[in-house]
């Protein structure tokens, strides 16, 4: 064992390890950039991941179509061939319809907020180990995306860009405790802070906290971003599902079910610019 630590092999290992560690750590501490190694790996694997995402979506669609088809076949076994034909048409129609709705909804958001500049992106991988539903998209700094840009879907707020590569970016969702934003109750205008935590994320929830004791928040209310911090105002976050009071009885909190189903996300939009962007940036960000 003693000889091993004096061997050339061990020196090579230590040297390579130090080089990788120093480069990784220096990039991590400077502007949340991916390390050059990761960036290159991302660029090389991106086409395969895109192709895999397409296959994955097809499998998902097939399974869904198969399940719904089974139910129909039980009811109408004699019409099975006809159903199959219709199902294919319906699947095609649904796909086109959902695509149209997707872009129509973005058009609506764009019309309501003419100052928003969007960059569309596709989800290329979900991280199963991320308790908060984080994922990777197929756009990076080459598409003018920056760290802490806001990510939305046609349903509402998704999260922020947390790490950036040349052609890929990592997204942290609103379920994560690392994402905090000012929010308003859409009905009563009561203001508070939305953030996630580990226990709530298990049920796909986040918390609307710091509400005054005199607030009139009710179950079913819509919660929207208030425009404080890095987020633009008026972005839909979710609906109130539960109301409680903090342990010292000082303020009220509400649990929110986000409108977005993070696990089913396929397409997102990155808001690269809006009026008031950069008005309040966290310490350390430029």
């Amino acid at each position: 064992m003693r000889f091993f630590f004096r061997s050339r092999q061990f020196r090579i290992i230590i040297t390579v390890f130090l080089v990788v560690a120093i480069i990784s750590l220096s990039f991590a501490f400077v502007g949340s950039r991916m390390t050059p190694f990761t960036d290159v790996a991302g660029i090389i694997t991106a086409p395969f991941r895109n192709a895999y995402t397409v296959i994955e979506s097809e499998i998902s669609d097939f399974v869904t179509a198969y399940r719904s088809g089974n139910e129909l076949m039980i009811k109408n076994s004699e019409l099975s061939s006809e159903i199959n034909e219709l199902r294919e048409k319906v699947a095609e129609y649904d796909k086109t319809k959902s695509e149209n709705e997707f872009y129509k909804k973005y058009l609506g958001i764009k019309e309501e907020n003419p100052d928003f500049k969007f960059t569309p992106a596709t989800v290329i991988s979900h991280d199963g180990l991320d308790q908060f539903g984080g994922f990777t998209i197929n756009k990076g700094s080459a598409s003018n995306i920056k760290v802490r840009d806001i990510v939305i879907s046609d349903e509402g707020l998704v999260g922020i860009v947390s790490e950036l590569g040349t052609t890929t970016a990592k997204i942290t969702t609103v379920l994560s405790p690392e994402v905090t934003l000012g929010a308003l109750d859409g009905r009563t205008n009561d203001s508070g802070i939305v953030s996630g935590n580990i226990q709530l994320s298990e049920d796909n929830l986040c918390r609307f906290s710091n509400l005054s004791r005199s607030c009139s928040v009710a179950i079913g209310d819509y919660v929207v971003s208030s425009g404080e911090g890095i987020f633009p105002d008026g972005i839909l976050i979710g609906t109130v599902s539960n109301i409680g009071s903090d342990k010292y009885n000082n303020s009220i909190y509400a649990d929110i079910v986000p409108f977005v189903n993070f696990k089913e996300l396929r397409n997102v939009m990155i808001i690269t610019d809006f009026n008031g962007k950069g008005g309040l940036t966290p310490a350390g960000d430029k």
Binding site: I13, F17, V20, S32, G128, D130, E178, K263
Partner: protein, 167 residues
């Protein structure tokens, strides 16, 4: 089996591990636990390779995991080669190369991995939440990964039968 074939077989297994790990279906997710296939495979592979070879596989795995993982910032590029080297070293000098060692090493490495990763990326989370994460997610995840690793160990032992690196 020639050396190139071993590499090819292991590359195929590695690709399968990445496909299983990073997809939307999360097929092997049980409650809050989700196995870490690439780490499990790397540990098993390191049990059969020299320290330097294990380290090289560790660097490659770490970089690829970093490109997929949402909590990365170079963390996996550092910890994967470290685990690969340590496992290879421990198996060659301290442990026997058997199924029990594979399970013990997988569970230990996974526990360290999940805990350190959580502490680094979610420093603002309370101690209570961290403990809750370790009990409800990290330990079950490590156990599921170990089950998968034991199966891989049996497979790797078969293909590496007469090809153990000379000491």
């Amino acid at each position: 089996m020639p050396k190139k074939s071993y590499i090819a077989v292991n590359v195929i297994i590695a690709v399968l591990c990445f496909v299983l790990q990073y997809n939307r279906f999360n097929l092997f997710k049980f409650m809050n636990a989700s196995p870490m296939f690439p780490l499990g495979f790397l540990i098993i592979l390191s049990m059969f390779l020299s320290e330097l070879s294990s380290f090289v596989w560790g660097v490659l795995f770490g970089i690829i995991v970093d490109s997929f993982s949402t909590t990365a910032l170079g963390f996996n590029s550092i910890i994967f080669p470290l685990f690969a080297f340590l496992v290879s070293f421990i198996v060659h000098y301290l442990f026997n190369n058997n199924i029990m060692s594979s399970a013990v090493l997988t569970v230990s490495c996974c526990l360290v991995y999940f805990t350190v990763r959580f502490l680094i990326f979610f420093p603002s989370v309370s101690a209570k939440d961290t403990l809750s994460y370790i009990i409800r997610a990290a330990i079950p995840s490590a156990i599921i990964t170990a089950v998968f690793s034991v199966l891989l160990y049996l497979f790797e032992k078969k293909i590496f039968k007469n090809q153990m690196a000379p000491r």
